[in-house]
Amino acid sequence: MFEEVGTTTEGDIIINVGPQHPATHGVLHLVITLNGETIKKVEPHLGYIHRSIEKMCESLSYRQFIYVTSRMDYLSSHINNHACALCVEKGLQVEVPPRAQVIRVLMDELTRIASHELWWGAMAMDLGAFTPFFHAFRERESINDIMEETCGARLTMNYMVPGGVMQDLHPNFQKKVKEFMQLYKRKIHEYDELVTGNIIFQNRMKNVGYLSAEDAVSYGCSGPAARGSGVSCDIRKIYPYEIYDKLEFDEVLETGGDSFARYMVRIREMQQSIRIIEQLIDNIPEGDFQAKTKAVLKLPKGEFYTRVETARGELGVYIVSEGGTTPYRIKFRSPGFSNLSVLDHIARGSKLGDLVAMMGTLDLVIPDIDR
């Protein structure tokens, strides 16, 4: 407290949070220097779940490598697959049929809601409230059921393929999605009652982990972590892909910059996703769900970069092609990696109990960070 934060002195305690610790959902390892209850330094140690997906993809064909990316950010696997499919399509210059585009956007938004639901429950659990976790799972499960029916899996779908989607929508899809939206609208006020409006929760979140807009950009934050600081960075708005430019939705911005602002961004983003789904669910155009592509895909020599907005922020897929059937080099710019780098900056000087609030609102998914 009395010395400068960020330096270690004699009486400091160094504790390891993780790789196995209830606060880190996954195998994140944080070495925390503490002075009493005050955090002086947070140093992340990564790599416990590093599978070197980038290297793996170098030996997989352009159809095959998409399935691996489901395992990066497993909570928004649709969006990861979408980014890869978009990047390959950019190289192939394939036009995606309108039906496939709508299906992709619908799936993305459902995934976004599911991801935010899990984040909401897990973050409340980090802060000591167990009940919201189960309530969040009720809504999330119904999304997973929809996914299971159409894509055949609940978490790692591998539904997007270059040129469209793998299978057509299930006949029950529209009905189920409408049911889900009704459930969601019936239950949304509970989120406020249980967590958002709660005085303890607000005190835990407000003025905790302040991140200025300038720092957010400098640290490469994206998604809700940056939008909570008032940085407009929604890729769906600024570099629209698929049919996002034709849809009506707002980019959620909060100016607080603290954990509560980041929390509110995600809560409001869920409602925007519902809005997008509402616009699309009755207007799915008829037609093909997949464009005709060759059996063996070959990207022309060159470099292709796509940016999409996952539930956590900006995912970039950078493919360097030498003209062969496999990518020469592939780089995934994952949102979690950059968002994690800001943790040390915002955590310094706050209490140990705040760390979980900050980690919660940055929404760290460890396989996304480690890749």
């Binding site: 305690i13 000591g128 835990r204 109990g353 979980v356």
Partner: protein, 358 residues
């Protein structure tokens, strides 16, 4: 009538007729000890299953439903598991303190059983400073936690113990002040006197708003004192894994676990005794018919009913609220609860002097 006091009196009579007074005293003490240990075990089992069911229903789950009818024997199975687990002692630990700490926690919880009136005229020891005794002994609880935290040779445990120390020492104050409100009204520290003073109405009804405030303060303070969520900073699992009992396993862990639940029971029993009339039935003014029906319900049922209601409230807190941060926890005590209960005590004193209560 078939009641606890009758059984106790008949037993005493029979023992005095059969043995000499010293022998009688020894046998009675042994019997009391056995009864307390039995109550301990029973409470542990009941409260654990209750907590699990309450949490499950609040979390739209079914809860334990495999062992025994409707899962009622689940906690028995858990106990069995904990019994056969190896009790590890870490290498760098202070062996004596490490092994002593759970027993200190247990003994404190057992000592607290003494002045509680479980039914009409059924009390182990009706000492004349009963309430003072309770608040004094319950402070020893923190020593066992500090012992466990220090002896574990673990940074998480140490921090948990530190937090717990700060927390219990602060919340003793407002718990004490809200108990004082009742003591001021009654004019006695003896538990039986306090109960008898509520024959014509419980303090929470007789004492107007100041008494309700004292009751709420008391409930919040004892929740904090027993390290229950939302004040479970000593064992905040997302920050300190398991706090002061991180290194404990097997039966030693179970003792801490049990002591926590028994403490919850005891503070709720004290709360029920002070504010809700202990074993006194619920009476409404001059509705003689209604009062008569209420009198038929045995006093022990009244006592346990009230206590378990308060336990439910504390569990309800746990499964609804997020955890506080350490500085907010102390803020809540020193900036809100303590001033409120001090002013409240002043008002109560004025009320007691001016006889403003019923």
């Amino acid at each position: 009538m078939w009641s606890f006091s009758n059984i106790a009196n008949n037993l005493h009579k029979w023992l005095s007729e059969t043995f000499n007074p010293t022998m009688t005293l020894i046998i009675e003490m042994v019997l009391a000890g056995v009864a307390v240990i039995g109550l301990f075990a029973a409470l542990g089992l009941v409260l654990v299953i209750m907590e699990r069911k309450v949490s499950a229903w609040m979390q739209i789950r079914l809860g334990p439903n495999r062992v025994g009818p409707k899962g009622m024997l689940q906690s028995l199975a858990d106990t069995l598991k904990l019994l056969v687990k190896e009790g590890l002692t870490p290498n760098g630990a202070d062996k004596l303190l490490f092994n002593l700490a759970p027993f200190v926690a247990m003994i404190v919880a057992m000592l607290l059983m003494a002045p509680i009136a479980f039914a009409k005229d059924f009390q182990l020891w009706d000492l004349n400073i009963g309430v003072l005794y309770v608040s004094a002994i319950s402070s020893i609880m923190v020593i066992s936690i500090l012992m466990a935290g220090w002896a574990s040779n673990n940074k998480y445990s140490l921090m948990g113990a530190m937090r717990s120390g700060a927390q219990i020492v602060s919340y003793e104050l407002s718990a004490g002040l809200s108990i004082l409100a009742v003591v001021v009204m009654t004019g006695s520290l003896q538990v039986s006197d306090i109960i008898h003073s509520q024959a014509d109405g419980w303090w929470i009804f007789k004492g107007h708003i100041p008494m309700v405030v004292a009751f709420i303060t008391f409930i919040i303070a004892v929740t904090a004192e027993t390290n229950r969520a939302p004040f479970d900073l000593a064992e905040a699992e997302s920050e300190l894994t398991a706090g002061f009992h991180t290194e404990y396993s097997g039966m030693k862990f179970a003792l801490f676990f049990l002591a926590e639940y028994v403490n919850v029971f005891i503070v709720c029993a004290i709360g029920a005794t002070l504010f809700l009339g202990g074993w006194m039935p619920f009476h409404i003014g001059n509705w003689t018919q209604f009062n008569h029906v209420m009198d038929y319900i045995p006093s022990s049922i009244w006592f346990f009913g009230k206590t378990f209601f308060l336990i439910f409230v504390i569990m309800w807190f746990r499964w609804t609220f997020p955890r506080l941060r350490i500085d907010q926890l102390l803020n809540l005590e020193w900036k809100y609860l303590l001033p409120i209960s001090m002013i409240n005590l002043l008002i109560v004193t004025a009320m007691a002097i001016l006889k403003w209560h019923f």
